[in-house]
């Protein structure tokens, strides 16, 4: 006799994860290397500021919004922050996840307790739903948003929701929910290189270029 | 090592503190006991409540103890591990706690009855008692002869 839920879990942890890892890693590298190989022309203008330093600085400083920006777009900015922070707390500080990363890379760090993880998860999901709402309701975002954007946002929320349900045994068979959780992660990894999820990696390049362009002129960035 | 044992102690304390938080299950149990007492008085109908069937922590136990108090009878059974059978300060309401030979609590009950069955000598055991006593007497007789 087989436990179909366990079989699904093993499929999600086994062959499907392998495939997802292949697509995820190779896809991301393709996208990044392709940009780097393209390169840019040497700038002949005489630099006034320090382009390289400011480029690197901007990678970090652009994390904070300009004063007043929050008032104009509270849901997008606050929701965006909370979603990202919550997502990364749940992803990177939950010990079973650390164990996964350790298995993949050999890197490991201490985790935090369940109260923090679960609060972060709940808050991130609420923030994600708020982002979804504003995408749907706000005319600016609605006009910019493609169906893939909606899909990607929903796919990003699924691991949080399924993970929470599985760990807390809210409903369904916990093994099945765990299988769904890993399945949702596999799917997220597979779509990652083909969608705007790539910003998770390319944002640093974009901010660097922005900072270095402005920095050359001695302008703020 | 010191740190980890400190944190261990902290955690054990924490664990106990959390484990002993009252769940709020004591008051409904108490009203159930009152009702059961009514049945015992009216129809001599006993009731057994299994405290293992619901979440019931040390905190809940404390509430129960505060309300019920201690009564007149306190018996210890030695039957494959100890059992404590105690009449509470409310006559007709008994605590029956079974432990295994290692002393781990196996089951906890509240019995609303005149006397818990487990206290009574079972007829099978009495029969065996009769046999044993007879044997001992005859042995004694043999020895004196």
């Amino acid at each position: 006799m087989n436990n179909p839920y366990f079989d699904l879990l093993m499929f999600a942890r086994g062959p499907l994860f392998d495939l997802a890892l292949l697509v995820f890693v190779a896809g991301i590298l393709i996208r990044i290397v392709e940009i780097l190989v393209l390169g840019r022309k040497k700038d002949f203008s005489k630099a006034k500021g320090k382009p390289v330093q400011q480029g690197i600085k901007t990678i970090f400083t652009r994390t904070l919004p300009r004063p007043g920006a929050i008032k104009a777009n509270p849901i997008t900015i606050v929701g965006g922050y909370v979603f990202h922070i919550g997502f990364f707390i749940a992803f990177l500080l939950f010990v079973p996840h650390i164990a996964l990363i350790e298995a993949l890379t050999g890197l490991s760090w201490p985790g935090v307790g369940r109260v923090i993880i679960e609060s972060a998860t709940v808050i991130a999901v609420i923030a994600g739903l708020a982002l979804l709402y504003t995408r749907w309701k706000d005319p600016v975002r609605r006009k910019l948003t493609t169906w893939v954007d909606y899909l990607v946002l929903i796919l990003s929320l699924l691991p949080l929701i399924t993970g929470y349900v599985a760990v807390n045994k809210l409903f369904g068979d916990p093994t099945f929910m765990m299988a769904l959780h890993i399945l949702s992660v596999d799917i997220l990894m597979i779509v990652f290189p083909f969608t705007k999820l790539m910003h998770a990696f390319t944002f640093a390049m974009a901010r660097y270029y922005n900072g270095s362009i402005q920095g050359r002129k001695g302008a703020e960035s | 090592m010191r740190n980890s044992s400190n944190s261990r102690a902290d955690l054990v304390q924490l664990k106990e503190a959390v484990a002993n938080l009252p769940t709020g299950n004591a008051p409904p149990i108490l009203s159930e006991i009152l009702e059961a007492l009514g049945r015992l008085v009216d129809r001599a109908e006993p009731t057994v409540i299994d405290l293992g069937a619901i979440p019931f922590t040390g905190g809940d136990e404390k509430v129960l103890q505060e309300v019920l108090g201690n009564g007149e009878v306190n018996a210890v059974l030695d039957a494959m591990g100890e059992s404590h059978i105690q009449e509470t300060g409310i006559p007709g309401v008994w605590r029956v706690d079974h432990s295994d030979p290692k002393g781990e609590v196996q089951s906890r009950f509240i019995e609303i009855t005149f006397v818990p069955d487990i206290l009574k000598t079972q007829s099978e055991d009495a029969l065996r008692g009769q046999e044993i006593l007879a044997e001992r007497l005859s042995e004694r007789l043999r020895a004196t002869n």
Binding site: I35, L38, T63, K143, L144, A206, K217, A219 | -
Partner: protein
């Protein structure tokens, strides 16, 4: 040889590099750039969301510069660009963008959207979709020596006036001097006082300078229109004149896009470093101030505020200099909201001012400035770009607002210390 969609697409193709690729890879369509845009702010029309204005560039990038996009195109899922697409984008790219650069500052992933608009205009202009007024200006500038046509006679007479007014001699084409002064057409035609102002300040400071009779005009409609061939042609005139005279430095005038064209784009347009340095007039004045060579006496008691030209502050890095200078001569200097790096555009930069079709949008955009000025209620607005100066003056008048507008250089000259 004429403009075609194909030529436009090819021009877009030429513009894509690693920064562009990283920008498009990073955009999450958050829409935060919308609120940074003066046109969106004043119309609340989502079509003016900045990132939407570079959609064609994005399509070329996706179709031709990504492996996955290539596969998509091969499967027939690519999104090719047609003549209609260019037509549709024209008003977004030219009428509703002053290339002010505010969107570049707020993008959370750091996309330089303004730079991509500049690139977008390469494609638009090559496809024949630049506004006719800008094309006209380009023609006049190519044939003559300024976007207003031939200003040779005008400059001669304005310099003569300045000499007469100040009693200081100004020589054309004088070799061996340190600085070459270049003006904007707007200054020559509308605000010639700046010539005398510079003459007085430089005389006091002991700065040696001249004006080229061949290349005395610094604006570059090629940069506004977004055509590097035209821009290169125009900037080459200045570079050649400056190198011929052998000056150490060229002074970029109080003009926003001229500063961009001359200092930052120019070397890349001609593909080499200059044999001279470019400084903005305000940078130079602040340097003279620091060296003690620019001294003033007395202060203007009017309530004065300062308007930051986008291309000089936000996209040019000159922020503190004008404020240090202004504080020397203004007793009652008050900043508007968002002043400095995040100042709002005068409403007509980036070629919008010349574009008649964009008139309504421009007026709408100015309402934001109007509210800001009303809040501060200044007697005088000082700026360091002749085109901002011109735009504000006209817009204030159109809106029945009685506020004087002045150039910073003139203002400094007015309070120049007379003692030796």
């Amino acid at each position: 040889m004429s403009a075609t969609a194909e030529r436009g697409v090819n021009a877009l193709r030429e513009q894509i590099d690693a920064p562009v690729a990283s920008f498009f890879s990073s955009c999450v369509s958050c829409g935060l750039c919308a609120d940074a845009c003066i046109f969106f702010q004043e119309t609340q029309d989502p079509q003016y969301t900045p990132i939407r204005k570079v959609e064609l560039l994005r399509r070329v990038w996706e179709n031709e510069y990504t492996l996955f996009g290539r596969v998509k195109s091969m499967l027939g899922l690519g999104n090719t660009i047609t003549e209609e697409d260019f037509t549709e984008m024209e008003r977004l790219v030219y009428d509703s963008c002053t290339m002010c650069g505010r969107c570049t500052m707020v993008c959370p992933v750091g996309n330089d959207i303004t730079m991509m608009i500049r690139k977008m205009r390469e494609g638009m202009s090559a496809a024949g979709h630049a506004p006719v007024e800008l094309i006209g200006a380009a023609k006049r500038h190519t044939k003559g020596n300024s976007p207003m046509g031939d200003l040779s006679k005008a400059i001669q007479s304005q310099v003569k006036h300045a000499i007469a007014d100040t009693g200081i001699d100004i020589e054309f084409d004088k070799a061996g001097v340190d600085y070459l002064v270049i003006l904007s057409a707007q200054e020559i035609a509308e605000y010639p006082e700046v010539i005398g102002a510079m003459a007085q300040i430089f005389a006091k400071a002991g700065v040696t300078w001249t004006i080229s009779s061949e290349a005395f005009e610094a604006t570059n409609v090629g940069v506004q229109i977004g055509n590097r061939d035209v821009a290169k042609y125009l900037v080459t005139r200045v570079v050649e004149a400056a190198e011929k005279l052998g000056v150490k430095k060229v002074i970029s005038p109080e003009c926003g896009h001229a500063y961009q064209a001359l200092r930052w784009e120019g070397p890349n347009l001609i593909g080499r470093e200059y044999g001279f340095e470019v400084v903005h007039i305000i940078e130079l004045l602040d340097q003279l101030r620091a060296e003690g060579k620019l001294k003033t006496s007395g202060k203007d008691t009017d309530k004065i505020t300062f308007h930051d030209p986008c291309q000089i502050n936000r996209r040019g890095g000159i922020n503190k200099e004008p404020r240090r200078l202004l504080n020397m001569v203004a007793e009652n200097f008050v900043e508007t909201d968002d002043a400095g790096t995040m100042n709002w555009c005068c409403s007509a930069g980036g070629g919008v001012g010349a574009n008649e079709r964009a008139g309504d949008l421009k007026n709408a955009a100015f309402q934001l400035k109007k509210r800001q000025f009303e809040k501060v209620a200044p007697d005088k607005i000082v700026t360091m770009c002749a085109f901002c100066h011109h735009t504000l003056e006209n817009a204030l008048e159109d809106n029945d607002m009685d506020i004087e507008v002045a150039g910073l250089t003139e203002m400094m000259a007015e309070y120049l210390d007379d003692e030796d």
